[in-house]
């Protein structure tokens, strides 16, 4: 007995001593953020990959064929450049990003929410390349989300990322099922959409199979779309970009959240949405088990293959016909590590993806989304009536309406998994109110931005 009680005490003592000894040492971490700037002297031809053999170190997201397809075409055009590619799921990239950028800096990397990475000096400032390649002449909204100022706010300041293309979300529908309920064209108002949902429910269909399980609350998609119908997308962007005093807890957003609650209460979502993951949602939609899903145009190419001619797309309709529209639209963000070995070649690749005709064709056909670049740049022909054609049309309408906004899940690194998702799941279970959700998310946001 005596022995039993003293041993852990001795052990704790040893640990406490070691801890005390260590805490007496220097604090962890660096002393100041490193300032990353690229060499601005690119020579007469501008930055490129040169003639010597280059191996670009790339860190991509698993499950998306676009980046790899682009690298293959690039190597075909520039045989001296090859790629050493590592792939991980987006959640893993999110966890790893700071350490990977610090410890084994890649030349090209798929980025999660990047304001903290930029503030920590882990990303290369791409402004000199933007100047050299003329990205500054593109529509500014394309790159706005990738700018981070010295206070860590997005929307202005130096450019720390580039998109392989830019995607947009809206509503996909199954044309065959839509015909069953007499829905032959996209709803023009929110009321019409409500009516279609009710018709689908009455006809015994599952109106919407939206993923909302695990750490990824997919109800954030319809919620943000509803926010755009009720309010101004610019105000939501201000909140996402962490502008001073921005709040998500507004009257318009409350109306949107209450509308979502109405859909939940009416049983418009699949009963098991809180355990549905993204892959299950896609397989149900493709399998004809639900009329609608809220998702992004990155699935257009996939849907054209899996259910040719049978998947339609429209943007969330406004409150009144002809009213303002808005949608989540964000570049598929890639960046260059501050300490990358081949920054010029990496930047040249990023420029090539937006300006080369073959690359732009790949962005549309494989990626299913709109390429970056000048408004009047080459666009590959798309089959009429295809899902890709529908999403590209919607993209053009969105850009005309200037309704693009970033994803509300990108406001901080943790707001999605730690705040939006649990609150949306609670709303489904009747354990959270729309007002309570907005209040809770705003409180989490303030504490995270404060950090």
């Amino acid at each position: 007995m005596q022995e039993l009680s003293t041993r852990p005490l001795v052990l704790l003592g040893v640990m406490a001593f070691s801890a005390a000894a260590l805490t007496a040492c220097a604090p962890p971490g660096g002393t100041a953020s490193p300032e990353a700037t690229s060499d601005t002297d690119f020579g007469a031809d501008g930055p490129d990959c040169g003639d010597e053999d280059v191996v670009l170190d790339a860190y991509f997201e698993t499950g998306f064929p676009l980046p790899t397809a682009l690298t293959e075409e690039f190597t075909k055009q520039f045989p001296n450049v090859t790629f050493d590619i590592r792939e991980d799921q987006f959640a893993v990239i999110t966890q790893n990003a700071p350490r990977v950028l610090q410890d084994s800096p890649p030349d090209l990397m798929r980025l999660p929410q990047m304001s903290e990475l930029a503030s920590d000096g882990l990303l290369l400032n791409l402004d000199p390349y933007a100047e050299a390649f003329g990205w500054t002449d593109w529509p500014p909204s394309q790159l706005e989300q990738l700018r981070v100022n010295d206070e860590g706010r997005r929307g202005d300041g130096p450019l720390y990322g580039m998109g392989l293309n830019y995607s947009m979300t809206g509503v996909f529908y199954n044309k065959e099922l839509a015909e069953q309920i007499g829905l032959t064209e996209a709803p023009k108002t929110l009321d019409e959409l409500d009516a279609a949902l009710q018709d689908a429910k009455d006809a015994g269909l599952v109106p919407i199979a939206q993923f909302n399980g695990g750490a990824t609350g997919g109800l954030a998609f319809p919620l943000q779309a509803l926010m755009a119908s009720y309010g101004d997308p610019a105000a939501i962007n201000e909140w996402i970009f962490q502008q001073p005093d921005a709040t998500i807890d507004t009257a318009e957003n409350l109306a949107a959240a209450e509308h979502l609650q109405k859909w939940i209460d009416a049983g418009f979502f699949a009963e098991d949405i809180n355990s549905l993951d993204y892959a299950q949602m896609m397989s149900r939609f493709i399998g004809g088990e639900s009329l609608f899903i809220f998702n992004g145009d990155w699935e257009s190419g996939n849907l054209d293959n899996q259910m040719p001619g049978n998947a339609g797309f429209f943007l969330m309709p406004p409150l009144e016909e002809g009213g303002s529209i808005g949608a989540m639209s964000a570049p598929l963000t890639y960046g260059v590590a501050a300490a990358a070995e081949n920054p010029d070649c990496a930047a040249f690749f990023l420029d090539w993806t937006a300006t080369n005709d073959e690359a732009r064709a790949i962005a549309v056909e494989v990626g299913g989304s709109h390429p970056m670049g000048p408004a009047d740049a080459f666009m590959p022909p798309v089959e009429e009536g295809s899902t890709t054609a529908a999403t590209l049309d919607a993209g053009a309408a969105l850009s005309e309406a200037n309704g693009a906004m970033d994803f509300i899940a990108n406001a901080t690194g943790a707001i999605y998994a730690q705040s939006w998702t649990p609150n949306l799941q609670k709303m489904v279970a009747g354990e959270q109110t729309p007002a309570g959700m907005l209040e809770s998310v705003q409180a989490d946001y303030e504490s995270q931005v404060g950090n």
């Binding site: 007995m1 039993l4 852990p8 704790l12 040893v14 640990m15 406490a16 070691s18 801890a19 000894a21 260590l22 805490t23 040492c25 604090p27 962890p28 971490g29 660096g30 002393t31 100041a32 953020s33 999110t94 966890q95 700071p98 350490r99 610090q102 903290e116 503030s119 920590d120 882990l122 399980g213 695990g214 750490a215 009963e271 098991d272 949405i273 809180n274 355990s275 549905l276 299950q280 690194g413 943790a414 998994a417 730690q418 998702t421 649990p422 609150n423 799941q425 609670k426 489904v428 279970a429 354990e431 959270q432 995270q448 950090n451």
Partner: protein
Amino acid sequence: MAVVPAAAAPVIVTGAAAPSQSSLERMRRRRRGIRSLSAYLLVLPAAAFYFFFVLRPIALSAQYSLYEWNGIGPATWVGLENYVEVFSNPKLVGSILNAFELILYFSVIPVAIALFAANMIRAIATSRLAGVSRTVLFLPQVIPLVAAGIMWSWLLSTDGLVNQLLRLVGLGGLTRAWLGDFDTALPAVGMIGAWVLVGLCLVLILAGMTKVDPALYEAARIDGAGPVREFFAITLPGVRQEVAVCVTVTVIAALASFDIIYITTQGGPGDSTLVPGLQIFYLAFYERNIGTASAFAIVLMCLVLIVVLPLQRILRGKES
């Protein structure tokens, strides 16, 4: 006390060259020194590993827990603020409560089932069925937790086998998305844990039962004891040590659970299956709040010690 006092040691004097008593003592001491030095050398590699991969990380966590740090930039000293946060944030406290609820599923249920199953297997020890049931019950233990989690999330899904079986026997009203329902998600992940841990407990308890003297059972039977009396009077006291080990290991598994929950629910729906292990991971890798994550990790370690040490004392009894 095996050391014989020097004065009483028999000294054999064989001639003039015989070593004096003090030089003998010196030799003996040197030999003992070499022996203990070589013992230390043998322990050194393991001790070095233990220091670098167990003690050092604990000490570093203790250090980080006193700073506000994002893992990259400069850290700011905040003293015990992170610990205050751990105990005042309802979300973090909630995850600790969930972990305690999991003890029921990870520890109480597997140990009870294992005791019952082991007793049955002991009764039919000679038949082939005993070997088969031992293997079947131990099987979950050799399956990686991640694979078990994936398999069970299929079984428990809306169209999974569990719901199909319920519909088959006319209990369709009970079907639900077990892992996506606020009321059933925690018990559901708990049952996965129970399924995994039964095998370990069973094997340990069976091993313990082989140590019990068969004569005791014979004597009990002669005295007219039934199987229930036999179990409580002979088997249970006989496997007390093994039960103590089972409870210790499974309680730690409950309090420090991560894999099964990360794979099946990631803490959802809401925060209904959030446990400290997962919350530490979210704090460190999503919120990049290394200080609070470290403080929570230290708190979790202390919690495990606080729960497990008294348990050991109670379960092992006086004989240890």
